[in-house]
Subunit: 177 residues, 2 copies
């Protein structure tokens, strides 16, 4: 069981990444304060061929030393845009046929286990601030809310971990459909 | 779609957590340098009712200000032990009937998508150092290696994100069996 060397992994080059088919998922970051969290989400989005990241409001954006440190350069591969208002990003994506889903603990939210996208559905997934979560006014204009079931004492997961879990889960469900 | 308040979430108290049935998964951290990563893994482990975390070698351990900050106190709910050598933790868990699985990019590793534990299987999952991954000598004495398929330019995911993805995936597969 020899560990693979970097060259064994056959990863894409930056140029290859730009043109390869992406998974029809857009990530929307609504007021995410920590550059480390943003950088980590870029790194995960690179691995799972996410279409685009929309950085909204106070969310840190490249160029940023801390984002670079945690993204390891993935901020140069994954496409991103900045929006002053999260609502603006949502309206644009809705016009492009995306379903708008907030990842948040909301009355009537659907458990991630029970959520299955339709074949060819395009998903825009909103992740919120480290303390306050997705803003209520943003939740109000979503199509649906998805919740990661949690069974312990704490109220929530770290946002970069949350994004990893949700992107992994929905990436695989879209690939299977 | 009203956001839930903390009291709506009906989380466990610390005392309830100590006695509630856990999922038969133990996390082994092999030379994890960053207190933030360790703290984040405690927080995820609290949410998914992980049995125990084995902190090995140079891995940061409580009490630690940074662990506390990212774990938000989950280092006081999830059981943990310290081992000077990762091999020692593995031998103890193997004697207790655990299957020993390294999460690592290894020749012949099985993709996380394709890995399904047997009903009632007890899993010890090893996550490695931020740069070097799981040590080769630790990989050598595992029962199997599991890899998260990755399709972009970067060689790996952040370790706290990796742990989140793998724990979420296997938690649900064990619950379904």
């Amino acid at each position: 069981m020899r560990k693979k060397e970097n060259e064994d992994l056959e990863r894409l080059t930056v140029d290859d990444f730009k043109v390869v088919d992406k998974i029809p998922i857009v990530v929307i970051l609504d007021q995410v304060r920590s550059s480390n969290n943003v950088g980590s989400i870029f790194r995960t989005s690179d691995a799972l061929l996410i279409t685009k990241i929309c950085l909204c409001g106070i969310t840190a954006r490249p160029p940023d030393k801390e984002i670079h440190k945690t993204a390891l350069g993935a901020e140069n591969t994954v496409a991103w845009e900045y929006y002053l208002n999260t609502e603006e990003a949502i309206l644009q994506l809705r016009n492009q046929g995306y379903s708008i889903l907030a990842i948040e603990q909301v009355e009537g939210s659907i458990s991630l286990n029970d959520y299955f996208p339709h074949p060819n559905q395009k998903l825009a997934l909103i992740f919120g601030n480290e303390v306050k979560g997705v803003q209520q006014e943003v939740v109000n204009i979503c199509d649906q809310t998805i919740e990661i079931p949690q069974f312990g004492t704490k109220h929530s997961l770290n946002i970069a971990v949350t994004a990893g879990i949700v992107l992994w889960d929905l990436f695989n469900k879209l690939k299977r459909t």
